[in-house]
Structures are given as C-alpha cells and as structure tokens.
C-alpha cells in the first residue's frame, strides 16, 4: 500500500467545517460548531501545523516526493486573513456578486437593528444603493441608533470576528460577529475602497467620520482618514456605513427590496426605507411602537453543547473543581445532578477542569448525555418572540391580502436549547398569484432567510403539512399552491443553521414538529376562511347548474302536456334564485371588510407594499448557491 504524502494540497481539499485550515486566525478555530458536526478533540486541533512549525510527516513517504517540507512551509506562511476570506467567502454569504450585495446590506441592517434595540430606540433605517458602474455599487446604510464611540469603530468594522455575540447564549440576530467587517473586507478586496463610517454618538456634538481598511495580515483596523464635524442629517444620534463593492443588482426573489420587506415584517417596530440604483424609492413604515423586550442571556444547558465547546468551557472556567464547574457554568445543574454526572463519568468532584479538559472531557460529555441522568429542561423566558398579534399586524401593513392570521407557539426545547416557533399566513389579494406555489418567508431571530429553502426545516415542515385539509391544493412532496404567503419565524438562543452562511435551519425533529403544529393551527383558520369563500363560489355554481337545467326541463314538460312554458320557466328561475341566495353575498364577508380596512390603513401610513407577483416566477438561478 502506498501511503500518500500528507501535503498541504490534500489537507486543503478537505471541507473547511471539519478541520480548520492551518493559517486561519486563531479566533476562527474557536468558532462554535455547526449544528451536528462536532468539533474535533483538542489534540486534533493542536496537531495541525502552525505556520512556521516544522512539518512533521510530509517528507516521510514511500511514493514520489512532490514538495519538500521547506516548500510547503513557505507556501503556508503566505496565506493571510484575506486569502482565507476569499477562499471561504461562500461560507460567509459572498459567493456571488448578487448575494454579496444582499449580504452586505443584511449585515449592516442587522447591526443597526441590534444597536437601536440595545439603546432602546425604535429603529429607523435608510438603505441606499448607488450604482457606480454595471458591476460596482455603493451601499449606504444609516440608522438612528446610539452611534459608536471613536475607539470602538475600528474594532467593529475593521477586525474580523469581533463582537459581543460570539459566545453568549442569548437570542440575537447574528451569532458569530463575522458580519459587517467581512462585508467591508469583501468591498476592499473587490474595489480597493475603504469602509466609510460616519457616526454621531452624542446629540449635541458633531458627527465623526473615518475610513477604515482591514490589515489582512494582522486582522487589525487601519485608519486611512479621520475627521470630526462631518455632515449629518436626520436623527440626533446614529451611524452611517458606506461600503463599495463588486456586485450585481437584480430584482426578484433574492432582491434587496424583497429582503427589506421581509425584514420589515419580522420587525414591526422598525421603519425601513430604500432608495435603489434604478430610482426605487420605498418605505416600510413600522406597524408597532413597542420595542421587543430585550432577550435574557442564559448559561448553556448541558444537553445543548457540543464536545468542542465543553472542552473550551473546561479550559476557560474560573471554577476550581469539576463539581463547581458544572454547577456554575451551566443552567439546570443542581449539586445532585452534578454529582450524578461526575459519578457516571467516574471523575472525582474535586478534579481540576483545566487539567481534565484534554483527557477526560469526552467522559464528561458522555455522562451529561447519558439517559440515566435526568436534567430539567432549560428556562424558556430568555426568548423574545415577535408575537402573533404583531406578526398579523405587520402582515396586514406590508401585504395586501384578503385573509391574515398569525400565532406564537409556546416555547420548546431542542438539544438543551430553548426555541419558539411563530407562524402566519396572508391569503389572497390582488397582488398574489393563484396559480403558483405559495410564497414562503423564513425567519430566524427576525432575520429573513432567503437562500437554500430546500434544505431548510421550515420548508420541509410546510411540505409535510397536509394543506389539502385546509382547502389548498398541494401535490405530494411539494409546497401547497395558491395565492398565499406563509411565514415561519424561529426564535432561539442558538439557531441551528445547516451551514456557516446561516441560510437554512437544520432538521431537528423537535423544531419540525413545533413548526408543523403552528402551521396546522394557522391552516385551520385559513381553512375556515376558505370554506366560507368556497361556499359562495359553490352557491354560484349551483345556481348556474339549476339555470342550465331549467330550460331542458321546461321543454320536456312542454312536450308531455299542454302547459304555459313561459310561466313555468319564470317560476322555476324564481325558485332557483331563492335557493342560492348565498351566491349573492359579497366575497370574503367579515374578512373582506377587514382586508379593506387594512389596505386603507396601509395607504394612510404611506407604506408601499412590495409587489408580490413576479417574484414567485423565475429567479431560480442562484437558488441553493
């Protein structure tokens, strides 16, 4: 058997999620694991050669030598943050120029929303895209948030993986803090332009302006320009970010327009506006003046963590012994439970977690997940759902439909992580396409998920729900068809995405079950509405049938006896009308008037609901990219 040289090439061809690249920044190695893929044990991580290390095995080969250790080392040294970024940009949402544009806006808007909420301000976010050339655009996102103090600007915008969200267990939009700085890096790499930030942290003081680039070798911000007293219009405080990038601007399913509309629906307390490169000028006005309650931070539940995280926690804990570590660093671990876990792992309570981390972590991990030990479900008060009422209000404000319903399920738990499902339906209306499949809006922690619908637990749950029970047509293994929008929101302290690009929710049975329950409840309400609507159509059809047969009947009776045919026809038509009175009821009844009221309210508030049709058609080109 020929043993292949363990060269850099081979290593690099491996999927990045499984084994970190040798030259990635230290922070990236510590990245929390994706859904089900556990992080390797520490030896494996440490075993990877650091730049400049003497290669351990590459020259010990039986086959032909392809490169010397020195060659390899030379090559390895030159890989930098920017190279890592460009190589892995598909993981971060920058795989196509079109997606890059959307991701940039998404990261900026997420940041703005978070900043506003943390400061207790109702968000007002203006998004502008200026066309520089066919393939180059300048994205400007301005918010009315608290602004950023001078010395933080660089860290937020000029350093990858900086942020407070990285490891805490608290419901938040982003989870990895790779967002806005990555967008800046992408812009810099594709256009050479810096990220421009204008921020006004103090109402009484002038705005501060700076231009930043990321030093891709050191992962440090570089200030290119700094000045005070910059021009600022609008809110008393706030931040404006400008990024120029190579991109593609297109309408359709994955359009900026569509993303902003969905963001507005999931954030009823926010007002968003959009000025596009083709003269687009629209605004989605907030339908609620209530800020969502701030989510509480919780300690991780022992059943919710992966082995890699457990090792990290053991290494970095302040507890001096294992008993204390389990009690202090996790939720729902009482002294009795901690004792049970340690007994199961055959580890003394007095052992030092730091020392155990390398050797016995796996035993602890197995003990935690042993069926013999009962651990209470995690607290669920840390989740902040949008709320059924607000979702419905939001749907009414942003979508012109005939029927609306929305609800929140009670919180539930998957693998130790609390989560909550919300669902809503908007049906009918002049803008909806009755012949195509329903339009699905997926959200995770209020962020719209626009890509990879096929692999997502939300899409799967919608397909698995039998919509024919609710008077919608549906082919086997497919989404239902009809003029409807189906919305599903997953709120959780830790959303299990299928990949780093955070585009699809992983298929946990607990999550799918909850989504289905929510959809079924909405479906029943829709079914009741549709059966009323169907009744009117049915009555009209009945009347038509009677009217058709009356002529035949009168002719036949006329041939059978001497009768007055005209009178008989008149009498029968009269009875037919009285028997099908429901056919004359204006369609929709109660819901119809509600829809009209909502449409009127929408116009008054100045909202311009985005057009719905057209988006469902075509635009499958970058599906599942």
């Amino acid at each position: 058997m020929i043993k292949k040289p363990k060269s850099g090439n081979i290593r690099k061809s491996k999927p990045v999620q499984e084994e970190p690249e040798p030259d990635m920044p230290a922070e990236i190695k510590a990245q929390p694991p994706v859904a089900k893929a556990p992080v390797g044990i520490p030896e494996a991580v440490d075993g990877i050669e650091e730049p400049g290390d003497k290669p351990k095995t590459s020259s010990r080969t039986l086959g032909a030598r392809r490169a010397t250790a020195v060659d390899l080392a030379k090559g390895q040294r030159e890989i930098s943050v920017s190279e890592f970024f460009m190589k892995n940009r598909h993981l971060l949402g920058f795989d196509s120029p079109r997606k890059a544009l959307l991701t940039t806006i998404k990261e900026a808007v997420d940041n703005s929303l978070d900043a506003c909420e943390e400061a207790g301000v109702l968000p007002h976010i203006d998004v502008t895209i200026k066309g520089i050339s066919e393939t180059r655009f300048r994205v400007i996102v301005q918010d009315n948030g608290p602004g950023i103090v001078k010395n933080q600007i660089g860290r937020i915008f000029g350093k990858l993986l900086y942020g407070s969200k990285f490891h805490r267990l608290k419901q938040s939009r982003g989870q990895q803090g790779i967002g806005i700085s990555a967008a800046g890096m992408y812009g810099m790499l594709t256009t050479g332009k810096s990220v421009a930030i204008t921020t006004k942290p103090h109402p009484a003081k002038p705005a501060h302006y700076c231009e930043i680039q990321i030093d891709s070798k050191k992962n440090e911000p570089q200030y290119l320009k700094e000045e005070d007293g910059h021009e600022w219009t609008g809110s008393p405080t706030g931040t404006r970010v400008e990024i120029e990038l190579e991109a593609e601007y297109k309408k359709g399913k994955h359009s900026v327009n569509n993303y902003l509309q969905q963001t507005a629906i999931a954030n009823p307390h926010a007002t968003l506006s959009f000025k596009g490169p083709e003269g687009e000028d629209m605004e989605w006005t907030r339908s609620s003046d209530q800020l969502p309650p701030e989510p509480k931070e919780i300690k991780p539940h022992p059943r919710g963590i992966e082995l890699g995280i457990l090792i990290k926690m053991m290494k970095s804990t302040t507890a001096r012994n294992m008993g204390g570590f389990l009690k202090k660093d996790f939720s729902r671990v009482s002294p009795a439970v901690a004792a049970q876990i340690l007994a199961e792992a055959k580890i003394p309570a007095t052992a030092n977690p730091k020392r155990l981390a390398a050797s016995n972590a796996e035993d602890v991990f197995k003990a935690i997940n042993s069926e013999k030990i009962r651990i209470m479900a995690p607290p669920t008060n840390c989740i902040s759902p949008i709320g059924g009422d607000l979702i419905e209000k939001s749907l009414r404000a942003q979508i012109n439909a005939e029927f609306y319903c929305a609800l929140s399920r009670p919180p539930a738990v998957y693998r130790g992580n609390p989560f909550q499902i919300e669902a809503g339906i908007a049906y009918g209306g002049p803008d909806a396409d009755a012949d195509s499949l329903v339009k699905v809006m997926r959200f995770a922690n209020r962020v719209p998920l626009l890509y990879q619908p096929g692999g997502c637990a939300i899409t799967q749950a919608i397909i698995e729900t039998d919509w024919r029970n609710y008077h919608m047509s549906q082919s086997r293994g497919s989404l239902p068809a009809g003029p409807a929008v189906i919305l599903v929101h997953l709120a959780s302290v830790w959303v299990p995405f299928t990949s780093e690009s955070k585009e699809a929710v992983a298929q946990y049975p607990e999550i799918r079950k909850e989504i289905k329950l929510a959809l079924q409840e909405c479906g029943r309400a829709l079914g009741r509405f549709l059966s009323g609507k169907a009744r009117v159509a049915y009555e009209a059809k009945r009347r038509k049938i009677f009217e058709i047969y009356i002529d035949e009947l009168v002719e036949a009776a006329g041939a059978m006896a001497r009768i007055n045919r005209a009178n008989l026809r008149k009498d029968l038509v009269g009875i037919a009308k009285s028997k099908t009175l429901d056919a004359e009821t204006p369609s929709g009844g109660e819901n119809g008037s509600e829809a009209e009221a909502a449409a009127a309210a929408g116009t008054a508030a100045g909202a311009k609901p985005a057009a719905f049709n057209g988006e469902a058609k075509g635009e499958a080109d970058d599906e599942g990219a």
């Binding site: 047969y549 009947l553 041939a559 009875i575």
Partner: protein, 370 residues
Amino acid sequence: MTKALKKLRSMKDPADKIRAMADALVRFAEKGENPYLDIPSRTLSNVTFSDRDSIIKLGDETQRRFFFNIGQAKKFMQTYLVASGCSELLKVRKTTSIRDLYYMTKHTIKDAREETFNDQKESDPIIEDLEVALGSLREELNLFASNRGAMVGNMTIWDSGDMINLRKQGSGGWSVPSIVEENVVRFKSCEAKFILLVEKDAVWRRLNEDKFWKKHNCMLVHGQGMAPRGVRRLLYRMVNELKLPLFVFVDNDPWGFYIYSVIKQGSINLAFESSRMAVPSARFLGLSSYDKGKFKLPDNVSISLNKEDRDRAKQILEYPWFQKEEWQKEIKKMLKEGIKLELEALSAKGISFVSEEYLPYKIKNKLWLN
C-alpha cells in the same frame, strides 16, 4: 308509498300518467315549491322475498328526487326528458329500442358544454326509474330492449303474423324478441316436455348441433349470460301457459347461481316485474359444486375463485331465497374448494360429453336443485 305516487300508479293509460307528471311540475313551480318525484327504491333494502309466492317483490320504500338539489337536479331533468320521449312514442304509436330513446333524448344542453346524457348507461336506469314511478312497464311505454337470446325445439309459434317452426331454425335458432306479449308471440303446437335454459350461447350451439332437443324432446333456450327481459317473459309464459317444467344450466360460479335465482325469483333491480317474469318452479340442473368429483373432471379445468367471487358467494349465501339446506351446502362447497367451473369444462371429457352423458344422466337421476 305516497298518495300522489299511488294515484299516478293507479291510472290506466300510460299517456295520462305522463301528462300528470308534467302537471305536477307546473303545480310545484306555481306554489314556489321545490319540485320532486317519488320513485320506489330499487335497492336490496326495498326488496322483500315472499315465501308464499316464492318471488322477490318491491317494497314500499320510495326515494324523493328533487329538482333543486345539486346531486339530483340532472337526474330529475333526465327523468322528464325520458318521459317526454315516451310521450312522443305514444303519440305517434311507434315502438323503439332503449338505445334509440337514448339518442332521441341526447343533446348538448344550451349554453353549457354538457350533454343531457353521456352514454346509454346513464339513460337505462332512468327508464327503470320511470317504469317504477309510473307503474308502467317499458313495453307499455313503447320501449324495448335489444334482442338477445335464441330458442329451438319441438314447437311452432306465431310471431307478428308469421308462423315459425322452431324445429327448423338451423344453427342459430329463433331470435327471441324483447317484447313477447300475446300481440307479438303466440304458442301454436308444442310437443316438447320441458325447457332447458342454457347460460351460454356456445354450449347452446353444441346442444343444438347434437340435436339434443330432438332426442330429449325439449325446448332449448339461451339468454347469452343473464337472461334478458324478453327471454324471461317468454319462459314465464311457456311455463304458465304450456305447463312445461324449466331446467336451468349455468356455470358453477356465483354469477351462474345468480342467473338461476333471477329466473326463479326475479331480480332486485326489476323486482316490480317479478310477478310477470319469475318462474318459482325453475330447477337448477348444473353445474353443481359436486359435479367435478362426481364426473371426475380433471383438475386443470377449474379456475380459482378471486376475491370478487368469494364476496359475491358470501352475499348470495345470505339471500333469503338461498336459505334451503341444499343451496347452503352447494355455495359453501364452492367456497371451501375455492374453485369455479365453466360449462365448457365438461368438454374436457369429450366434445359431446355434455349432450350425451352429463345432461341425460342428471335428468334421468333427478340430480337437480330446487
């Protein structure tokens, strides 16, 4: 049975009945009521077996057919269409086949992409509905079914003015018309001592070719499967007017048993006609479930019962007119063996086994069921 229905059925002239039907519709319409027709149900639940007469009779259950009912509107309209067709026939004093009537009443409905009748299967049951609703047989409404069935034997008859010698009918026999009333068919001279009704045309041909009727001095009739109304009515008249015993020779399967039972007691569907068609004295000559063993037929001539056969056999087992012990044994034997036999299976023992051995043996030894 409702008063109106009784009144309608009590009228003598079918033409009056049809006029009354039209008038009823006008009265309903004038009063602003939902027009309806009462039609005696032609279902198993509305059929009673009369032990005394040993025939199936129609009960008093009726179905009310409304016009302003989405499931019934079309049928209601169709019933009037068929009635108007019959009214036309009565007026011009002509008879026609039920297939002709189907074409007379079939057309595209004005302003709709819909036919009054899609096929004859739709119009035939409407004719039966009208027959029971009016209490008039289709023959009285100047309708007849297509001819089916044939007869040969030692007899001369009069058919619509022609004398027919049934001894000289070649290989095909005299085709039995669908209307065989006195005005169409009269019996002249008859030497035959019994009637043999054969289910199948092919076996009937074998017996005719072998001149079975000559050797055994009988009438040989077939109905090509389930005997049509003309054949049944003719058998009834021959049995009652000429006092001839009737033997039935059918396949050994649930369908064959049912054919025998329809001849003997009448059918569920046409229960209203039993009294003028059923022959309670009819005897079942074969094939019996015991014949395979008795005549040592080879195994390969039998066919396994399928699910449908089994279900049908179990149904028949429950019919009140199959409650005689010998019949229960017969049906249970078939279910136990799990096989059925066609008449042609007898040919395995020789091409003329049926005419030269089987039938003579059965008749001579009185191996029949009642």
